[in-house]
Amino acid sequence: MENHPKTFTKVKSYVPFHGPCDPCPPIGRKYYRTPPNLYVGFQQPSLPQFSPAEALMKGTLWPVFYDFYENPYKKRRV
């Protein structure tokens, strides 16, 4: 928990190996999430907060931990 980078991305991606004999067309990029809890470290006191109603909607009181999730493969859906 020592590293506290000021900025970080919450999604990473890579292109998985695709062999010449693989039966399906390649998926393209594979995505994985790296949520804020991996970067924030031991929480500092007095961080900015959401309002109570917004905190409930977001699932956390502190914007620094908020991570909206959406299906990364949605565009490719048939």
Binding site: F42, Q43, P45, P52, A55, L56, W62
Partner: protein, 87 residues
């Protein structure tokens, strides 16, 4: 049987959910930051606020928690619907 609830039920319920959510977040935070006096103060403030909201809700819609007053003296309202999964 289709039962509809007054909009007021949902509005008050969501206010309570929001207040109690702040409480849960602060509780978990304080479990690992037990000396943050500002957070303790905010926790106490929301604990009071949540109690107020629940008292108001219970006067219209019946007891929400074990230990709450059953304000209808001739019927045990605790057992009345709606249950959380029915709303």
């Amino acid at each position: 049987m289709v039962k509809t609830l007054p909009n007021e039920y949902y509005l008050q319920m969501e206010e309570i959910q929001a207040a109690d959510f702040v409480l849960i977040e602060l509780m978990l935070y304080l479990d690992t930051h037990p000396t943050d006096t500002q957070a303790i103060q905010q926790y106490n403030q929301f604990a009071q606020y949540s109690k107020q909201l629940k008292r108001k809700f219970e006067s219209s819609f019946g007891p929400m928690q074990q230990g709450s007053l059953n304000q209808t003296l001739d019927f045990w309202t605790w057992k009345s619907s709606p249950w959380p999964w029915q709303i």
